[in-house]
């Protein structure tokens, strides 16, 4: 019951940002999907091959009509991660509500778990739901000549998880008591490096491995910092 109360409170704090992220992603992502699907449907990106000519390989590689939707998803995810990280872990410092929160009759682990669970749920519900909906729509045959690949769907979830990595990195930076020009930005810097590393992968397995390792590292650091930090 106490965990649920904390979770409700954290989710309530996330709610405006969740809705905003979902709406922005739905609006822009949906708009670009509709626009590009129309072009795809009318074969605007397919070349006319003339008999007896060379075919450049770029003519045979096709983007999914979700390509700009993917950019919207990625930006929304990063933005949501940053904002939620600040909301959960930086704002209480400025509003000085940590002592009130920490004096709940629950362990610090529970308080932290509630925050992190709320953050994760926020991502899954807001961006995950919209992503599933847009992917489903892109697979409707009216939208695009042939079905989307499962890989595209998984990559979308990778973007959402990268947003989660940013959230954890922001959380770690927020919990750090160091000066911003020393090690306070380590959490955010690490999240940035993880994003770059993930985008250097072509293997989904490796991408997930990178994200999983980074999440384990960040979570362990966040827990350790939060349990030992002074407020």
């Amino acid at each position: 019951m106490r965990f649920l109360a904390l979770l409700r409170k954290e989710l309530r704090e996330c709610l405006p940002w969740m809705l905003l992220a979902a709406l922005v992603f739905l609006a822009f992502g949906g708009f670009f999907l509709r626009a590009l699907a129309y072009d795809q449907r009318h074969y605007r990106y397919y070349p006319n091959f003339s008999s007896g000519t060379l075919v450049e390989h770029v003519q045979l590689t096709q983007h999914t009509p979700l390509l700009l939707t993917g950019s919207c998803l990625f930006c929304s995810s990063l933005g949501l991660g940053l904002i939620l990280g600040v909301r959960h872990f930086w704002i209480p410092h400025f509003t000085r509500t940590w002592p009130f929160l920490l004096h709940r009759s629950v362990s610090r682990k529970t308080i932290l778990a509630a925050k992190l669970t709320a953050g994760t749920i926020a991502f899954v519900i807001s961006l995950g739901t919209v992503w599933v909906a847009l992917y489903w729509y892109a697979n409707q045959l009216e939208a695009y000549p042939i079905p989307q690949t499962v890989r595209v769907f998984i990559e979308g979830w990778i973007f959402i998880m990268l947003g989660l990595v940013v959230y954890l990195g922001t959380a770690l930076s927020g919990l750090s008591t160091a000066k911003w020009y020393t090690t306070k930005i380590l959490g955010l810097a690490f999240a940035t490096v993880i994003i770059v590393t993930t985008f250097s992968q072509w293997s989904l397995v490796w991408a997930f491995a990178v994200i999983a390792i980074s999440v384990v590292i960040l979570l362990s650091l966040i827990f350790d910092t939060f349990l030992r930090r002074e407020f």
């Binding site: 106490r2 649920l4 409170k9 309530r12 000085r96 009130f100 920490l102 004096h103 709940r104 009759s105």
Partner: protein
Amino acid sequence: MTETVLQTESLTKYYGSVLAVDHLDLAIPRGCICGFVGRNGAGKTTAIKLMLGLLRPTAGSSRLLGCDSAALTPAIRQRIGYVTEGHRLFRWMSIAELEKFQRSFFPKQWDDKFFADMIEYFDLPKKRKIKHLSNGERAQVSLALALAPNPELLIMDDPTLGLDAAIRRQFLEGMIELIMRQGRTVLFSSHILGDVERVSDRIVVIDKGVLRANCSLEEFRAAVKKVILSFADSAPDEVNIDGLLHCRRSEKGLELTLVGTDDEKIAEWAKSVRAERYNIIKMNLEDQFIEFTALPGRKKMFRWEER
């Protein structure tokens, strides 16, 4: 033997290389109303946070209700009410939402009627958000939230800071309500000695992180005295009375701050130095505190101080 609800042993805290609390030894018995006073930067808030486990001590230890402060269990925290400095609450919540949030942590202890009565008494609309409340109203909500679970130990960090006299009076009345319940212990820090005088039965004075006084309020009131002596000729060069804290000289007079010197000794000494007359000044707690914590040899800054 009275049970000790709050105990510190050589509690020490460094912030970097700055010593904030230096070997604080305290033992607050159950049922005690303890005023925790000190000048700005004396270490009161640091000490309270150390007791509540929000800070880690550099050395020493602290125990609340028999539990180490560094490892306060949820069950122990349930028995402790805490009013934070500045009454920092979640601004986006309404009073009703905050009540619901707080109640979920005290399923069995929460006194719905008491909370509702307090809110009604303070004339606060439940649907109003915390960010739309004034400082005083927020303090009232904070007190109601802290008192409604009926805590055994109530710790308040400067609860009347920034409140006007009327709100402060209401706040103190709320505190007295708790005090009336048997076996409740209160530790509160304050700069307003009048409030401390009104409700406390024990006073703890901390100065530059060091404990200077830990006694009953009556003992403190009785111990700290100011005596003004006037002389026909000049005042004696040497002032060798027991318990001398400060001595200020004028042309034909002496102003002495004494600690723990009884009236007979004062009279005897006055006679021995051939004082023309002497007067034991009646001080309020605030004056006594200022004298007790004044720096020796403090220079007078303003001209009126020389009069």
